[in-house]
Symmetry: C3
Subunit: 141 residues, 3 copies
């Protein structure tokens, strides 16, 4: 089947980062996705875990939290406010993951972050991504 | 790293809606995602929960059902027929969510809907999205 | 609200395939997503379960494994190496699904595959997709 590929010659705004070490113990209030896989535009800060939206538009937000203490629940926040959440808890098995994938309309300067909504350990790994967070601009306004 | 942002000046077809109240009790056969977050083209009907595809193309369908009675399983339907499903049931914990993210080729006039495949309560909320349903046109034919 | 739809006249690279039969028993090391839903460019091989990336770019990878023996955990592999994983295990309920949705930067010739990371049965179905795997080029380099 013949097909024509998308317009080339540009990179969209977007990033992907993962957690490269285990976050142990209680009171996990934030994950710092410290390992940057890619970041077109340098809008993600691995020291804070915050993605600053470079311009108004529709963004695919994709995240996965991989827990080690029965939980994997998490929030997606914009400017500190929760905008969506995922819930995953299995008391019978330690390792769980929960994923979020949603297209949000975001404005330039918005700060997007992901944080677990439970007390427990979060799995990170250097060899591959278990816990990750990304955004990709689909359409600019 | 320099980068060029996507073509601007248009809005794609697509919508996002959420459930703003709890759907309690048994025999949940449909969720009406009543709160429209955005709807480019006005193709989503919050009174019926149906998104009517505006033109042929590839659409990202993203949904998350957040249950309060151990279940979060759900179906994605096109013209009433199930096209894909997610299964989530934990008898040991009440709150669960399951998410679906899939790129479907849909035709103009197709009616897309999400409904839970279990009997139980579904979580909705006014402050942020727990249960949501969206579609975004990625490529028109 | 008036809106202008995306540029038409092309098809992106991308595919979607599903499993149309149950994979029973132990030592499931690979799922062959045997039923091709669409494949623009014919880059997916249903005999091997491998998607060969047609050109450098950013791809949305979306997969869901639906297990019948308490597990739904799986890996996404590029050239045989695990790049990301999802974990789902509920000892109290047989049917579970786990989904992955992530935007990866892939290079021409990369081989992408999904396989379960557990020993047990995987659900397939002819009527609708329970276990599926897809990729969609969002931006070419």
């Amino acid at each position: 089947m013949p097909y024509i590929l998308p317009v080339t010659g540009y990179k969209s705004a977007g990033f992907l980062a993962s957690l490269s070490y285990d976050v142990e113990g209680s009171a996990v209030t934030n994950i710092l996705f410290n390992k940057v896989e890619y970041d077109y535009g340098n809008n993600y800060n691995p020291a804070t875990g915050v993605y600053t939206v470079p311009r108004d538009g529709l963004y695919l937000i994709h995240a996965r939290v991989y827990g080690r203490d029965n939980y994997a629940s998490h929030y997606i926040r914009v400017n500190g406010n929760i905008v969506t959440s995922a819930a995953e808890h299995d008391p019978g098995h330690l390792y769980q993951s929960a994923s979020t994938s949603i297209v949000l309309h975001l404005l330039s300067g918005h700060e997007v972050a992901v944080d677990p909504s439970f007390t427990g350990s979060v799995d990170g790994w250097t060899n591959y991504m278990t816990t990750s967070f990304g955004a990709m601009l689909l359409y600019a306004d």
